[in-house]
Symmetry: C2
Subunit: 353 residues, 2 copies
């Protein structure tokens, strides 16, 4: 029997083909299964394993429970010259957000900027996926989503806001684009769970206990709430995501987005806000690309602070991991994949590893 701590390597192609087959075997049309697989494996390539194929059982479970529609017919509807609405019809968030980003780019080609508001979507994985989709087509973008409650409003102690990513991107045709994909919380709950498993305290400022008091005890922190970056500032950013993705679009808001792993009485009703901007609006063609190259060069030339060897652009560590994993393969712990492999086997899909 294989050691469960074994690490195995898959090529991106192998991982994508496997994931796509598993989704297809759960009723997802091949094109959408491919899209979903591409999004998940891109997270694995970029070292964001928390949003990669290990999460597949959660999505498949919600398909089987009838809470995610595996085959919605998505039809963006233009509601103003520069704005479309997309009803996600409880489809896989990956498919919905990819379609919304495409639509926002199509609008931006005509109108200069394109906004798509999305309601009735589900967890869309890594925000960087859609940021990359935009910059790789030459656009700047803001990609926001709301999420199930994990953080209180500033001054509160009960979770209401999501630790939704704030996503922003700016293209750099000649090099590293700007990819900012940041949670407004100081630390993810996963990090606190890890501290608990390893018997370590967490730093002050990560979380409050159930009574709203600062705590360094990971167990108490998990019964309480995580805290935002910059105090009121991070909480304000998260509220902005809820306003633009929820209140504005018609999706759930104010703590009512369903938790993917806990709320089995209803679809999630996640909302997204995807804004795409053509970069050649104000300067002649090539002007912005030249200026972007100059900005990146200026960043790199900054003398380093204590503890740093070099200065990277936002998103660059993940791009480096992606380049390496594209050639060396993606490492997975067999134990982490076992639940996915199990489900695949049940549907007659063979794991390539």
């Amino acid at each position: 029997m294989a050691d469960m701590n074994d690490v195995l390597h898959l090529t991106a192609d192998e991982a994508r083909a496997f994931a796509s087959d598993v989704f297809a075997a759960h009723g997802v049309p091949r094109r959408d299964a491919d899209t979903t697989a591409r999004c998940l494996v891109r997270a694995d390539l970029r070292g964001v394993e928390t949003h990669g194929i290990v999460r597949m059982p959660g999505y498949l479970d919600r398909i089987e429970r009838g809470l995610v529609d595996p085959a919605p017919e998505l039809a963006p509807r233009r509601v103003a010259p520069a704005v479309a609405h997309l009803d996600g019809m409880n489809g896989l968030g990956f498919v919905v957000a990819t379609r919304a980003t495409e639509e926002a780019m199509a609008i931006a080609r005509e109108a200069g900027t394109g906004l798509v508001g999305v309601s009735r979507s589900t967890h869309f994985g890594m925000a960087a996926t859609y940021l990359l989709q935009a910059v790789e087509a030459g656009f700047a973008a803001l990609v926001f989503t709301n999420a199930s409650p994990a953080m209180p409003p500033w001054g509160g102690r009960r979770e209401m806001l999501g630790t939704s990513p704030f996503g922003a991107a700016f293209p750099n045709p000649g090099g590293q684009p700007f990819i900012l994909d940041m949670a407004p919380s100081v630390a993810a709950r996963g990090k606190i769970r890890k501290a608990l498993r390893e018997g370590r305290e967490i730093p002050e400022g990560y979380a409050l206990d159930a009574d709203g008091r600062p705590t360094t005890d990971p167990e108490k922190a998990l019964q309480g709430v995580v805290l935002p970056i910059g105090g009121a500032k991070g909480a304000g950013l998260s509220m902005l995501m809820d306003l633009l993705c929820g209140v504005l679009t018609g999706a759930a808001f104010a703590g009512h987005v369903g938790d993917q792993y806990k709320a089995f009485d209803r679809p999630q009703n996640v909302g997204h806000f995807i804004l795409v901007i053509r970069p050649d609006l104000f300067l002649p063609a090539g002007g912005v690309a030249e200026r972007m190259a100059e900005l990146v060069a200026t960043v790199r030339a900054n003398p380093t602070a204590e503890g740093f060897d070099e200065i990277l652009m936002p998103g660059e560590p993940e791009s480096r991991t992606e380049t390496r994993r594209l050639s060396e393969g993606i490492p997975y712990r067999r134990a982490d994949l076992e639940p996915v492999i199990e489900r695949a086997r049940g549907k007659g899909v063979t794991f390539p590893g």
Copy 2:
């Protein structure tokens, strides 16, 4: 002779009339002088005195040096169906940004969303001014600016990025709107200067010294750089402001925006990015207002964390100050106003206090 620590009170009308007269006496057309005065006094009303009329000498100085044009003829130019460019012509940032916000709203009325990119502007004061302009007309908005360098990119130790405000707003016809106006730095340099004057240490995490090492000594901190909220996250937000306001629009970027108080060899060439969104795009009229009221009620109902008595919306403390000062008057320390009064006297303008 009056005690320089005397506090005097002006009504908002008195303060605005005085400020407008002073700008008019410096060659600013009355309409633009009124706009500038309204912006500055609104900051004073909201308790943001660092952006109020005490800053007037800085603006007047740059007019006298020929670095700010007191009477530019601003003409926004539509560059795409949903986008306009505004050349600020080195005018007062208050006048330029007010005009840009007007234009963005006009575009949003037609196109659903309106984006105005601004180049060749100057310091525009408090971002909330333009956020309020938008929400009071019923719109959601993002208002970004870049600024002279004060913060390094993440991992660096030399200032390059601004501590530019990230501004976002969402209207609430029935109550307190959402007004987020946040610097991406943990603390303003002004706060560090205050610690130095009072002989106090500053908390770790506020600043690096000139060698890029964390410091709690305010004197060393002032020779170094301020630090962003959330580490790489706040630095990423500030870079986003520089990309959208500078690289994209044609304004200065990457540390080249002129410092209002130090760079006397050239205009500042600040850039702004103003995006306005109609809130009735996705839901029937009134739907969003109802949902916003529900969100605010949910925020208020959250049980408080240790150290809090009540939970406020972003922007609400400033709104409360404004309500109070509109009835009680705005308190100014005579010593802080003396330089403005001096300049006014030189132009034959009488101070009302």
